[in-house]
């Protein structure tokens, strides 16, 4: 805490050198794990993104819903269209305070290009219980290429604070 020795530039001793080497090797290993998983792993953070505007995105979502709607279901008393797009296609979810629109019906084991964008604030796409969490921003069309590996009803929770109704923002994905 007080004045150091005058000459503090001294060689490290054996224990320090050993720990430094082991810690450095561990750090290098941690670094390598990420690209390794990027090329070998099945779960990677999506990077595909396009510029959009809330108006433009809303139009795309409406066209998408009109084309593939198969029914209606309500969440918290509000009716939402249930949309069953073909496997391999582009599917859309629109986030706004405080809805995830529409309800998607997907097939297990099939790949979809899931588009996410917001009409207003930041929102958090949190798919439960599979626990996949992504940030959704206005003006960004974020494309996640997903393959559901389990079936059932999945809930989308909003996990980015978006004003006072934040906790009521709940959506749904059905996997058959």
């Amino acid at each position: 805490m007080l004045a150091p020795e005058q000459n503090w530039w001294k060689p490290m001793d054996r224990l320090e050198k050993t720990w430094l080497t082991v810690a450095l090797v561990w750090c290098i290993f941690l670094t390598i794990m990420m690209p390794l998983w990027y090329f070998q792993g099945k779960q990677n953070v999506p990077t595909e993104t396009y510029r959009t505007t809330p108006q433009q995105y809303a139009v795309t979502v409406n066209e998408f819903v009109a084309k593939y709607q198969i029914g209606e279901e309500s969440i918290n008393g509000i009716p939402f269209p249930v949309v069953a797009p073909p496997a391999g296609s582009d599917v859309y979810i629109r986030a706004s305070a405080w809805q995830w629109y529409p309800i998607l019906q997907l097939e297990k084991g099939k790949e979809y290009r899931l588009h996410l964008s917001s009409m207003d604030y930041n929102h958090g796409f949190s798919l439960q219980p599979v626990n996949i969490n992504l940030q959704v921003l206005p003006g960004y069309d974020y494309v996640a290429t997903i393959t559901p590996t389990s079936s059932g009803d999945f809930t989308i929770v909003c996990n980015e604070y978006c004003y006072l109704g934040h906790h009521t923002m709940v959506g749904k994905i059905i996997v058959k």
Partner: protein, 575 residues
């Protein structure tokens, strides 16, 4: 005993130059002393407000009580973030900077007027933020205030005032160092602790400038001067402030770890080069950490995220792992040199566990490293972040770092500031002995409750998670663990604030005559006996126990790390 000159100039008989601290035999500039006291008092005050908010929001998230309504929950959550993560931390750090750049260097405060200006701006900014969050419903935007959530202009202005004040105060740190060097107040290198504070000050400078890059556009936008600002860029700039701000806390905390270790067991750094190198690694690499908050964001490439989130090559993590060895090792060498040589851990068994600075130090190191550090690296792994982003695992991590780690260390040091700087006798010593254990134990439970809740998908910043109807029943249990931890920690917080205020307001004014507060009488060998070179190099005093401990740490680190990859591998395919 000579009569004590009062601290403040408006009291009759005050000296305007300096006094000599009888314990450290260093000059204490009275300007610096007043600045340290003012900043420390504001720190404890904001901690108190933030702590009240903490209790209320914790009792709301604990589903059994669900105390507040949604509006008040989000409002107090905003307040809690501002008071704890900004005001309490920064006020205390500024007190530390004034201490590090004057007392430790045996030097004078070269720019007290400027420093007071900084303090006043910070105080106005901090109080304004509190008032507008509490009384203007527009400002319930959480402390991050992500655009396009729009707060009132005064909200952003309060941030700006606080930041400008802090920048000015940090500037006086550099002025002091330069003046002290020129006036030859100290010889050779700066002491290690001052070196650590210097790291914190350099980090703080660009942290605050990056904060301006986010908050100034938001301020202009709220006034209608500019029509829009990219929400992704705002997040990048905001975290250019928000994340490095935690690294300022880190550097300050580690400096305080070295101080507490010196105060309580009389360490000498085992190798100054090793410790200083670790600080330099922070300086170069830790600023990349803003990316930790953007790993789930659109518009950024894998390469950008991976390079930045890993601090180039986990080199800042390397710095922390170096301190994680060097501090316990120094403690072990010191205790062994004082005769506690039995076995691998005899030094630990005989350590001064009743000394609040020592227990606070150990609790801070252990929870910071084993819980905060490990979870932080795992969360910051590019792909694993997908499992964690904005779930309760996140606050679980940073409550282990910034609260169990930094706040506990700051509290521990505060006990020693009372006799040394406030020149008051410490009152309620028994409370002070127990306080770190109650607070640290509570915070540990709180963090574990948050982490296990987050693992089950519970999101952070959410008034009622059961609303979504998806969380499993076990969440009730983990949220109860979180809630019990919060109550314990708040009790620990109340104990701390009580000891500080009772001592400062009612304790007799007295010059300190020893460093240790509690264990000095029963443990005379602990009183700073000077470690000789011979003792430092004696084979019998080698830090073998600390060496074993860091390897145990590494094993736990690896287990937690691979478990998370395994969890990730079980989820849906996504790219």
């Amino acid at each position: 005993m000579a009569t004590l000159a009062p601290t403040f100039p408006w009291v009759k008989g005050a000296k305007d130059d300096y006094r000599t601290c009888p314990v450290l035999t260093l000059k204490v500039d009275m300007h610096a002393e007043r600045l340290i006291i003012a900043n420390a008092v504001m720190a404890v005050l904001t901690l108190t407000i933030g702590g009240i908010a903490a209790l209320l929001i914790a009792l709301t998230r604990w589903q059994t009580f669900h105390l507040l309504d949604a509006t008040w929950f989000y409002r107090l959550l905003t307040l809690h973030g501002i008071d704890m993560l900004i005001a309490w931390m920064v006020f205390f750090e500024i007190a530390g900077l004034h201490f590090g750049s004057t007392v430790l260097l045996n030097a004078r405060h070269a720019a007290p007027k400027l420093a007071w200006l900084g303090f006043i701006l910070m105080t106005i900014g901090g109080l304004t933020a509190n008032v507008v969050v509490l009384f203007d419903p527009r400002n319930t935007v959480a402390y991050t205030a992500y655009m396009p959530l729009k707060a009132s202009p005064v909200f952003y202005l309060s941030y700006i005032l606080f930041a400008v004040g802090a920048l000015i105060a940090v500037a006086t740190f550099f002025i002091n160092i330069v003046v002290a060097k020129r006036e030859k107040r100290f010889e050779g290198s700066m002491p290690l602790v001052a070196f650590g504070f210097m790291t914190a000050a350099i980090l703080a400078t660009y942290t605050l400038l990056q904060g301006a890059a986010a908050i100034v556009p938001a301020f202009l936008w709220s006034m209608g001067v500019i029509s829009s600002f990219d929400p992704g860029i705002y997040r990048n700039f905001f975290w250019g402030f928000g994340h490095p701000a935690q690294q300022v806390n880190l550097a300050a905390m580690i400096s305080i770890w070295y101080s507490l270790a010196q105060i309580t067991v009389g360490i000498r750094p085992v190798n100054e080069k090793f410790s200083r190198l670790a600080f330099v690694l922070y300086l170069f690499f830790i600023n990349l950490g803003a990316a930790h908050h953007l790993l789930g964001d659109p518009g950024l490439s894998f390469a950008w995220k991976a390079v930045n989130t890993s601090y180039a090559m986990y080199l800042a993590v390397l710095g922390s792992m170096m301190h994680a060895f060097s501090i316990p090792a120094a403690m072990e060498v010191a205790l062994r040199a004082k005769g506690y040589r039995k076995g691998l851990f005899g030094w630990l068994r005989n350590a001064p566990w009743k000394e609040p600075g020592f227990s606070a130090l150990v609790i801070s190191i252990v929870i910071f490293g084993w819980v905060g550090g490990v979870t932080g690296v795992v969360i910051g792994t590019e792909q694993i972040n997908m499992l964690v982003h904005n779930t309760m695992r996140l606050p679980g991590h940073f409550h282990a770092t910034v609260v169990s780690g930094t706040t506990t260390a700051f509290m521990g040091l505060t006990y020693y500031l009372i006799p040394l700087i406030f020149r008051k006798e410490l009152k309620l010593k028994k409370w002070a002995v127990w306080q770190p254990y109650v607070f640290g134990g509570g915070m540990l439970l709180l963090s574990l409750g948050m982490i296990t809740s987050g693992l089950q998908g519970v999101s952070r910043r959410n008034w009622d998670i059961t609303f979504a109807g998806v969380v499993p029943g076990t969440v009730e249990l983990t949220l109860a663990i979180f809630g019990i931890g919060a109550i314990l920690a708040v009790i620990g917080g109340i104990m701390f604030v009580t000891v500080v205020f009772v001592s400062v307001l009612t304790g007799p004014r007295t010059e300190a005559n020893r460093l240790l507060l509690v264990s000095g009488d029963g443990n005379p060998v602990l009183e700073s006996t000077k470690l000789t070179d011979h003792m430092m190099e004696d084979k019998q005093n080698q830090p073998r126990g600390a060496f074993v401990l860091v390897f145990a740490f590494l094993v736990w680190f690896a287990v937690y790390y691979f478990t998370n990859w395994w969890l990730l591998g079980r989820t849906w395919f996504i790219r």
